[in-house]
Subunit: 367 residues, 2 copies
């Protein structure tokens, strides 16, 4: 193998595939990036067996070939090279020679024989969505997946396509986050559970452009994202997702509209009195024109109120402040509306068209 | 106690005294900031018994008094308040009430009875230096103090005043860093060892202004820095400092002048092949017009060379790359000159006027 690439293009590619390199693995080959040069393309590939990423980079090919090189060492070296063209050659013993300016590196690498290349996928079932929207809906839902591997289904997100609507759902037993977006055309029904980790890594790679499209292909076992020069392949989570429709309700006894930033800052301040192990709720007191927040902990107490527009009954209700903060942080609107029934029933934060719905269970407290 | 301060002034003051709050202490009172209001001034004070800091902040005094409040909780709360005036009142049970905008906090604090207020110091022996210079000489020497508490003297820096020259020295057994600066006038002889930790914290607080002066007062046991509205008092390290003059020499067999940035980047790249536990030296090969760098480790090998201007003999010499990097990083000149005698004798990096001298011991290697 013998190639010549621009340092910055090489780093761009490395940064993308690094997302699929596991921190530690019992299989040394998985800690590698593969450089695969054939058919006039230079591909970088990494695969942790759940998530595989391939990206094509520009460069001059002098000789084809492939090699697997430890991802950390390789990326550290490339990053610190002078800004210049990088020449990478590999000899028959899989020693990589990296030359750039006057710097010459020489590191032991591996054959790609044992590397799990990405399987090929039948691409017949797909949707198209902008990078901007995909990145957005991941950000607005992924915080409420569970990290408990015993309820595997909760560690992923439901992606459900129905006609021209994509609905994305995550839940962790205390709260549910739902985002709905309109697609540009009608598609066949799709319902899959995509691992949260895949979505988190994808959203880091997406440039987020409004006019840049992502093609998402679905099979029984896999989901494949195709965008720019990159392909991300992930296993799906098997199993049935929760039936959430029964948990949603549009009834309410109290409806309150407030400034989101004000509410977020208030709740943020209530958490200052919590030590890490503390599970004290923030107590919310909704009256005619105000929403009050109170916290009592071993450290001290705190109270604050903000202006609010209320319909319906007064209510005194307690929440895990973290759950409210998580939801408020990802809502982009300036004003938000909360719907409540009683201090034991879920609270809903949603917009008129239900493009987003955040359901949060209240917690008990001693008034 | 009852005061009214601007939030940003309060935070500025808190950030200064926080430098003297220990991370963890067996004495809860040391984890506190004292707010001491008397004689028309509001002082914030912290003291970890080695290092004590007092700073005066602006504000309206409604009632004098004093209180000790947990530094972390207090600073977290003030930081998250709205940008507004902050009202702080303390009742007879040492409960602090903090009010800002519509937010009201209420936290348990302590009497200042047990707090170690800063002792008063006889201010008869002092020097004056600009904040800029003090900050600079600390940055340029403090990296080579030792963190080994068994050789206490090495954990500090020698500050020596002789006539109108201030000389600052640090050493750790492998290297010596020396900075000399001219003071604006002649002073009596002073020779003290200031703890490295004090200097590191001081340099974080100094604004670094060229026209802002620091007064440094010396006693047998203490050093006191006075600048802006702040006083920093530190214990000195007792004991005799090393006689370094015998270790310095101006003889050389090889003198080489190189571009500092190029040399630094080369050495930086040699360290890419080192795992954390590795102690491999960088081998430097000095020939007529070039300075070559080579590294061999279990990961691979690396070689690079830069242009250089040499006088005297060729030399092949090994160094701990870390030590070279540390010295090169703090030198501001574009070009530097290194002086060597043989592969077993110390290397000197110094400017013509010896305003800085970095002595670094070479290491053995197998050629």
């Amino acid at each position: 193998m013998n190639i010549l690439c621009d340092k910055s293009k090489l780093i761009e590619g490395i940064n993308i595939v690094l997302k699929a390199v596991p921190g530690k693995s019992t299989m040394a080959i998985l800690e590698c990036i593969v450089i695969d040069v054939k058919e006039n393309t230079i591909k970088l590939i990494a695969n942790d067996l759940q998530l595989g990423i391939e990206t094509t980079i520009e460069g001059n090919i002098i000789e084809e070939g492939s090699v697997a090189v430890n991802a950390k060492i390789f990326s550290d070296i490339i990053r610190k090279l002078p800004s210049d063209d990088v020449k990478i050659t590999v000899d028959e013993n899989y020693t990589i020679f990296i030359e750039c300016g006057k710097a010459k590196f020489n590191i032991a690498a591996k054959s790609t024989e044992e590397f799990p290349f990405l399987p090929s996928i039948i691409k017949d079932n797909n949707i198209q969505i902008s990078q901007f929207t995909l990145k957005d809906i991941i950000r607005q839902t992924v915080f409420s997946i569970s990290d408990n591997e015993n309820t595997k289904v909760m560690t992923g997100e439901l992606f459900e396509v129905n006609g021209s609507t994509l609905k994305v759902v995550s839940l962790d037993g205390h709260r549910i986050s739902i985002r709905k977006v309109d697609l540009k055309k009608e598609y066949e029904k799709i319902s899959v559970i995509i691992p949260g980790k895949t979505l988190i890594e994808i959203s880091k790679i997406l440039n987020g452009g409004l006019d840049d499209e992502v093609n998402i292909f679905f099979t029984d076992k896999h989901v494949l994202f195709e965008f720019d020069n990159t392909v991300v392949l992930s296993r799906l989570i098997e199993g049935e997702y929760y039936k959430i429709d029964k948990m949603l309700s549009t009834d309410y006894e109290t409806k309150i509209t407030v400034n989101k930033k004000e509410m977020l800052e208030c709740i943020d301040r209530t958490t200052l009195l919590l030590k890490e192990s503390d599970k004290k709720p923030v107590i919310i007191d909704i009256k005619d024109n105000s929403m009050g927040f109170a916290m009592n902990s071993s450290v001290g107490s705190m109270a604050e109120e903000i202006d609010a527009e209320k319909e319906g009954k007064d209510i005194l209700i307690g929440f895990n402040p973290r759950f409210l903060i998580d939801a408020l942080r990802v809502i982009d609107e300036e004003e938000i509306t909360l719907y409540m029934i009683n201090p034991k029933a879920p609270c809903f934060i949603r917009d008129k068209d239900e493009t987003y719905i955040y359901l949060i269970l209240p917690v008990n407290f001693n008034a």
